[in-house]
C-alpha cells in the first residue's frame, strides 16, 4: 500500500496532497498495491472530495490533541499508523507542513526520505524518486533502502487524477495515542497576511520583477498584471528583495523559493544562475528585458527585448482584451 498524508487547512484539503494521492495511485497500479489517504486532526475529520480521488481506504487519525497542528503529535500519530498498517511508501506534499512533518515521521520510523520530488517511477519493482538538487542545477535520482519509502512531492508538478469512476473508499476512523506531555510545541496562531495573496509556490502564474523595475513602487505594475490573471502571484529576484523593494517571501531562486508554475513571466530580471535555479522547471517561461544578452533569454520560451515600462502596460491592455473574451 502507498499511503498519502492529506493536509487540510481551514478544513480544506490542500491541492498538493491531492496531486500526491494521484501520483500514488499511478505508481501503486504499477506496483499492484493499494492506496490509502491519511488525515489527522481533532474529532470529525471531513473527507469530502477525497472519495473522488479514488484511494482504496481513507484513514482518519483523531485525537483532541491533534486539533491544531504540532509536529510531535502528528508525527506520533503517523508513525503509529505506519507501524500498524505497514505501507511500502508514505507520501506527503512538499508544502510548509509536509516539509516540517515528513522528516520527523521518517526519523521516527528509522526511514530515509526523498525531499521535494518532481518525478516518481517504478524501477525493478521499487520506487525511484527524482528530485532537484543544488536548487535545480542538477537532478538526483535515488531509491530508498529503508521501509517505508518516505517522500515529499513538489506541488504543482504532478497532474491530478483524471475524472474516473472511482469506487467509494472505505473510511476507517482510528483514535490516535497521544500521551500527555508528548507535545512540547504547537501552532498557537495563524497570522493571515492582509492581502491573503497566493504563495508563489502555489500559483499557476508567477509574475516576477527584478532590478529592472528600478524601485519598490514599480512592483505595482506587476501587481496590476497579477490582479488580471487568475491564480497568479508576484515574485521577485534576490536583488529586488535584498534592496528591500519587496518581502523575501516573494523571492524566487536558490535562497528563495523554487517554483514550477504553468507560466513564469520574468520582468526586468537578468537571470543570475541562482535565480534560474529557482524557476527553470516552470512549464512556460516568458521574459521582458532591455538587455538582449541577458541570460534569462537563454531559458525563455518567449522573450521580448524592450523597455519594461513600455511593454508591461501594453501587455496588461492586451491581456485584458483576451481575458474579457
Amino acid at each position: 500500500m502507498i499511503a498519502v498524508f492529506i493536509e487540510t487547512r481551514d478544513g480544506k484539503i490542500k491541492k498538493g496532497s491531492l496531486e500526491a494521492l494521484a501520483e500514488a495511485k499511478r505508481r501503486a497500479a504499477e506496483l499492484r498495491v493499494g492506496t490509502a489517504a491519511v488525515l489527522a486532526g481533532g474529532a470529525g475529520l471531513r473527507t469530502a472530495g477525497l472519495e473522488a480521488c479514488g484511494p482504496d481506504k481513507i484513514f482518519c487519525l483523531e485525537h483532541p490533541a491533534l486539533a491544531e497542528y504540532s509536529s510531535q503529535g502528528y508525527a506520533k500519530a503517523l508513525c503509529d499508523f505506519v507501524r500498524e498498517t505497514g505501507p511500502t511508501a508514505l507520501f506527503f506534499a512538499a508544502t510548509a507542513m509536509g516539509k516540517d512533518l515528513a522528516p520527523r515521521v521518517a526519523a521516527g520510523l528509522g526511514a530515509a526520505m526523498a525531499s521535494d520530488c518532481t518525478k516518481v517511477a517504478v524501477k525493478n519493482g521499487t520506487l525511484e524518486f527524482t528530485r532537484p538538487v543544488y536548487a535545480g542545477k542538477a537532478y538526483l535520482s535515488l531509491s530508498l533502502r529503508s521501509t517505508p519509502a518516505v517522500a515529499t512531492l513538489r506541488p504543482n508538478v504532478f497532474p491530478l487524477a483524471a475524472d474516473e469512476a472511482a469506487g467509494v473508499a472505505e473510511v476507517v476512523k482510528k483514535s490516535a495515542d497521544i500521551p500527555d506531555g508528548l507535545i512540547k510545541g504547537r501552532v498557537a496562531e495563524v497570522l493571515k497576511e492582509e492581502s491573503a495573496e497566493l504563495d508563489v509556490t502555489e500559483a499557476d502564474v508567477v509574475i516576477s520583477g527584478g532590478r529592472g523595475l528600478k524601485g519598490p513602487e514599480n512592483f505595482a505594475l506587476l501587481r496590476e498584471l497579477a490582479a488580471l490573471v487568475p491564480r497568479s502571484a508576484v515574485g521577485a529576484s534576490r536583488s529586488a528583495v535584498d534592496s528591500g523593494w519587496i518581502g523575501h517571501q516573494h523571492q524566487v531562486g536558490q535562497t528563495g523559493k523554487t517554483v514550477s508554475p504553468n507560466l513564469y513571466l520574468a520582468v526586468g530580471i537578468s537571470g543570475a544562475i541562482q535565480h534560474l535555479a529557482g524557476m527553470s522547471s516552470s512549464k512556460v517561461i516568458a521574459a521582458v528585458n532591455k538587455d538582449p544578452e541577458a541570460p534569462i533569454f537563454r531559458v525563455a520560451d518567449y522573450g521580448v527585448v524592450g523597455d519594461l515600462f513600455e511593454v508591461i502596460p501594453r501587455l496588461k491592455e492586451e491581456l485584458k482584451k483576451i481575458l474579457a473574451e
Binding site: S70, S71, Q72, T95, A96, M97, K99, D100, A102, P103, R104, V105, A107, A111, A112, S115, D116, E128, T130, R131, V133, Y134, A135, K137, A138, Y139, L140, S141, L142, L144, R145, G185, V187, A188, V190, L191, K192, E193, E197, D199, Q249, Q254, T255, L263, I273, V284, I285, A286, P292, V299, Y302, G303, V304, V305, G306, D307, I312, E318, I322, L323
Partner: protein, 260 residues
C-alpha cells in the same frame, strides 16, 4: 543560554554545477565553498541571543577537514567554540544519516544545550530534513523556516512561513529551530574577530568515537543518477515596437502556450 549551531559547507550559490557521471557526484574543482547561506542566519541569531541573555555559542560541522574555514568564519563572527565532527564520507544525500550523527554528538559531547539552531536547508542537497529529524531523535519540539524567534525563560515563540500566511509556533526549550532568510541580517566578521579566530583551536571529533551503531553510518539512499536539468529549447526573441511585441507576447501566452 547554551546554544549549538550546526553548519554545513556547500558550494556557493553562484556556482555552476558540473557532474562526474562515473561517481554520480558533482565536480568540486573550481567551486567556491562557504557555509550554507541559511546557516549564516542561524549563527547570527545565536550570537544575538547570547548578547541579550548571556551564555555560550558553539558551532558544529559534520564534514571533512575542508570545512574548517567555514567553522573559522563562525568563530570570527563571534562564536565561542567550534567543533568538526569528522566524516570523510562523500555526500550521501541521506539526511537521516547526518541527523543520527548530530543527535549522537549532542547526547555524548554537547549535553545540556538549550537551543539547537540550523539553517532551514543546506543549499545543495536541499533536503530540509536534518533539523526535524534531529528533533525527533532527541524528542525535542521544533520550529522550522523561522523568520522571528522570541525566547523568555524556557518558553519560546517563533514565526514561521507557510503558504500565504505566517504561523506562530509556541514551544518550550530545549528545542530545534531552523532559520529562514529574514530572521536577521548576518554580521560581517571584524578584523579583530578574524585574528582571534586564527588563534583558536578547532577540536576534531572522530565520527567513530561517537558510539554510533555501524548501521547508522550506512547510507540508506541509493543514488541511481545525477544529471543536468533537461535543456530548454531555444525560444523566440522579439525586438521592436513595444505595442507590437506586447501584442505578440499576449497572443503567444494565450493561443500558443495556452497559459493565459
Amino acid at each position: 543560554m547554551n546554544i549549538l549551531v550546526f553548519v554545513k559547507r556547500v558550494p556557493d550559490t553562484e556556482s555552476r554545477i558540473r557532474i562526474r557521471h562515473e561517481t554520480n557526484s558533482i565536480i568540486e574543482d573550481g567551486l567556491n565553498f562557504a557555509a550554507s547561506p541559511y546557516d549564516d542566519f542561524a549563527v547570527e541569531e545565536a550570537l544575538r541571543l547570547k548578547e541579550a541573555k548571556g551564555g555560550t555559542v558553539r558551532v558544529v560541522c559534520v564534514g571533512r577537514d575542508e570545512a574548517l574555514p567555514v567553522l573559522r568564519k563562525c568563530l570570527a563572527m563571534g562564536a565561542d567554540e567550534a567543533f568538526l565532527v569528522k566524516d570523510e564520507t562523500p555526500e550521501t544525500y541521506d539526511g537521516l544519516r547526518t541527523a543520527r550523527i548530530i543527535a549522537k554528538a549532542v547526547e555524548t559531547k554537547f549535553a545540556g544545550a538549550d537551543l539547537l539552531l540550523f539553517g532551514k536547508q543546506a543549499v545543495g542537497t536541499d533536503n530540509s530534513q536534518v533539523p526535524s529529524m534531529v528533533a525527533e531523535l532527541l524528542g525535542l519540539p521544533q520550529a522550522n523556516v523561522v523568520t522571528k524567534l522570541e525566547i523568555d525563560g524556557n518558553a519560546a515563540t517563533a514565526l514561521r512561513e507557510i503558504e500565504g500566511a505566517t504561523e506562530k509556533v509556541a514551544f518550550c526549550l530545549p528545542a530545534v529551530v531552523s532559520a529562514q532568510k529574514g530572521l536577521n541580517e548576518p554580521r560581517y566578521e571584524t578584523l579583530k574577530g578574524i585574528m582571534a579566530a586564527k588563534k583558536k583551536e578547532i577540536p576534531v571529533i572522530k565520527i567513530e568515537d561517537l558510539g554510533l551503531a555501524a548501521g547508522d553510518l550506512e547510507s540508506r539512499v541509493a543514488i541511481t543518477g545525477l544529471d543536468m536539468p533537461p535543456e530548454r529549447k531555444a525560444g523566440r526573441i522579439l525586438q521592436g515596437d513595444p505595442a507590437e511585441t506586447a501584442r505578440e507576447l499576449a497572443a503567444f501566452l494565450h493561443s500558443e502556450a495556452k497559459v493565459i
